[in-house]
């Protein structure tokens, strides 16, 4: 992609949480291909190293940033390191998401708090740190939260996650309002049903495939590489006048009945 393309991230620096594998890695890979320097985050040093290596060997530029988003101390240290490595940041993608499927009655306080820490408090705190840096450098910044269709609709047995993602959508709008005047656009994407590792059992189940064939407009599972372009769009100059939006990337699931 040339520097003049409205989808180019040339010269931009991006942090994508939870990007050592899965959809986060897809986003990091596409960002790097589009010219951004990317920080790869994860909890496992080996996996982060592996992802950095893959991006670098494809000609991208990547830096490792190992930390647990739920650990405030680790996050602060990592952020210091980020500032030491490049000093600025143009894009934050809050991608880490934890899911805990169980019946409403079976939740205990600790596991609800743990989930909210990862899915809601962490994006809140990271956005706070990143926006401070963006404002200090007068960066035309972008924050993209990876939400879920579960932030817009609901199903049984998924209460904590649904609550967190609804909250993340609210945070997206709140930050869009508050940070917009400071030059930062905040949006979210809401993935539907993707062929990711955590979904492997469902992916293998022909009944789920048949159900998706009926329930989605495009009639199938989302491939892992089909989410990242939406994130790229929202992070790119092309989306300069879009803020506070939740973009569903769900093959038409929400629009279809």
């Amino acid at each position: 992609m040339s520097d003049t393309s409205p989808f180019s991230l040339a010269g931009q620096d991006a942090l994508i949480t939870g990007s050592s594998s899965g959809l986060g890695f897809e986003v990091a890979q596409l960002f790097a291909r589009s010219g951004a320097r990317v920080f790869i985050n994860g909890r496992s040093e080996d996996r982060v190293r592996g992802a950095v290596e893959k991006i670098a060997s494809a000609g991208g530029i990547a830096f490792p940033l190992v930390f647990d988003v739920s650990d405030t101390r680790q996050m602060a240290d990592a952020f210091e390191r980020l500032k030491n490595v490049i000093g600025k940041l143009d894009i934050l993608v809050n991608n880490v998401g934890m899911r805990d499927r169980r019946a409403f009655a079976e939740f205990d306080a600790e596991s609800v708090r743990r989930l909210l820490d990862a899915d809601l408090v962490a994006p809140f705190l990271l956005a706070q740190k990143v926006s401070e840096l963006m404002i200090a450098h007068q960066t035309r910044g972008r924050i993209v939260n990876i939400s879920s269709i579960a932030g817009l609709i609901a199903q049984s047995g998924d209460a904590a996650y649904t609550m967190a993602k609804s909250g993340l959508n609210g945070l997206t709008r709140a930050l869009a309002a508050e940070l917009g005047p400071k030059g930062i656009n905040v949006n979210a994407v809401a993935p539907g049903f993707f062929k990711t590792d955590p979904n492997r059992d469902a992916v293998a189940d022909p009944e789920v495939a048949a159900w998706l064939a009926r329930r989605t407009s495009v009639g199938r599972w989302g491939e892992p590489h089909e989410l990242a372009p939406a994130v790229l769009f929202l992070a790119s100059p092309a989306a300069s006048y879009i803020s506070g939006q939740i973009l569903a990337v769900d093959g038409g699931y929400l629009a279809h009945y």
């Binding site: 040339s2 520097d3 040339a10 010219g35 190293r49 950095v52 290596e53 893959k54 991006i55 670098a56 060997s57 494809a58 000609g59 991208g60 530029i61 990547a62 830096f63 490792p64 030491n84 490595v85 490049i86 000093g87």
Partner: protein, 438 residues
């Protein structure tokens, strides 16, 4: 009037005022793509992490003489280098540049044999058309006639065997493997000629840089060299000052050749231009021999193990390892090389495009078929350097490729952070320079 004693009194170089990624910017605002004046700037010119590490070290401790102290960054950098070094390498002796590293290597080789009880081992064998530095010992080891000529009366006695230079020296009917063995045989012949128990070391660059233009050895050459060294108790010194530290896609270039040296010299990319630093690494066997003997390597400079220089080296090596840059060098090297092949592969005056990783040489010839070089009086390399520079490209053309007098090449060693989009910043100025000069 300037009071700087410049490289060349006839040149009036622009003043470099800033650096930005792969580019250097002069006082008039002109930008130059830095494709490796001397294979130094592997991280580009504005690496925040490295400059912050240097500033932090300066705020803490600028200097403490190694006659009294060691320092945290020197210890950490030595640990990191040894952890990633070829098998058997256990100690690191920090110096301030490449010439100091090779000079120290020659002295260490000699002292090792003396302490081991073989004081008759005094001969050094190196290769023609190699460059090991400009101080007297290093220059003696180097086999580049042009560089040696006027200082010849001052130089120490060193034997020079042929380089492993496939493009020119492999016979037409000869396989690469057979050629490699034939080239390596020259070492054994020279050891036998000098007297096997009088030779202390053999010194070579795994990929010959400045003087041959990025020439790697053929497969099997260095394995055979290692065998010969082992057979006769001769130390193998590999000079990776230019080709080491990721330049070829390996942190240590000899990994590609599948050999471990006894002594290894690095510099350039180790400091990446942020600080002047080099290092001589040696095997546990060599270190232990000295440690269990006099305990004192009779060498040393004021600035060895300099805390700020080693802090820079530590940040650079961490960056090379953490950012997956060796893999990147391999990929970008292939892309750059294929762009060069499509631009100049059929050029009537480009005889060979070779190298490893982001260390690439183009050999300029008068005739592609006969491989005949241009008349040296034409000064092709010098003109190429000037023309490319005028087009905004810093590269390293050199003459004397064949024998110190004849032959020309252009050496390219761009930053590891260069992107695919920047390939034209190298290819186009080269194309224009070639058409202007030839």
């Amino acid at each position: 009037m300037s009071h700087v004693f410049p490289r060349h009194s006839k040149l009036n170089p622009p003043t470099a005022v800033s650096g930005e990624g792969c580019y250097l910017i002069d006082a008039s605002g002109k930008r130059y793509f830095d494709s490796g004046d001397a294979a130094v700037s592997c991280l580009g010119h504005s690496d925040v992490e490295v400059t912050k590490a240097i500033k932090a070290q300066l705020d803490k401790l600028a200097f403490a003489h190694t006659g009294f102290f060691t320092s945290e960054p020197a210890e950490e950098l030595a640990d990191l280098l040894v952890a990633n070094a070829p098998e058997g390498i256990e100690r690191v002796y920090f110096v301030s540049g490449g010439s100091e590293a090779t000079e120290a290597a020659i002295k260490l080789a000699r002292q090792y044999h003396v302490e081991k009880g073989e004081p008759q081992r005094r001969h050094l064998i190196a290769r023609k058309q190699s460059y090991h530095g400009n101080t007297i010992g290093a220059l003696s080891a180097g086999g580049n006639e042009w560089r040696r000529q006027q200082f010849a009366p001052l130089l120490i006695e060193v034997s020079h065997i042929s380089p492993c230079y496939e493009y020119v020296l492999r016979g037409e009917a000869e396989s690469a493997e057979a050629y490699g063995l034939r080239a390596a045989q020259e070492l054994e012949d020279e050891i036998l000629r000098l007297g096997p128990d009088t030779v202390m070391a053999f010194m070579a660059e795994p990929v010959v840089g400045a003087t041959l233009g990025a020439v790697p050895a053929v497969e099997g050459y260095f394995k055979r060299i290692r065998e010969i060294c082992d057979q006769y108790g001769v130390l193998l010194i590999l000079d990776e000052v230019m080709c080491g530290m990721g330049r070829t896609g390996y942190l240590f270039a000899c990994e590609a050749d599948g050999v471990s040296p006894d002594i290894l010299c690095i510099a350039k990319g180790l400091g990446a231009g942020y600080q002047p630093i080099g290092a001589m690494l040696c095997s546990g066997e060599i270190y232990d021999t000295i440690a269990n003997g006099t305990g004192f390597f009779q060498h040393g400079h004021t600035y060895i193990g300099h805390p700020v220089a080693t802090a820079a080296g530590l940040a650079v090596v961490r960056a090379l390892l953490d950012r997956g840059l060796m893999s990147r060098v391999t990929t970008m090297g292939e892309k750059l090389r294929s762009a060069l092949v499509s631009a100049f592969g059929q050029h009537p005056n480009i005889g060979d495009i070779r190298g490893r990783g982001l260390f690439i040489g183009l050999e300029i010839v008068a005739n592609r078929e006969t491989k005949a070089p241009f008349d040296p009086s034409l000064g092709i390399a010098g003109k190429m350097k000037k023309a490319a520079f005028a087009e905004g490209l810093v590269c390293y053309p050199m003459s004397g490729t064949r024998d110190g007098k004849n032959g020309d090449h252009v050496l390219l060693a761009p930053p590891f952070i260069m992107t695919e989009e920047q390939i034209p910043d190298i290819v186009e100025p080269l194309r224009k320079a070639l058409s202007k000069v030839l």
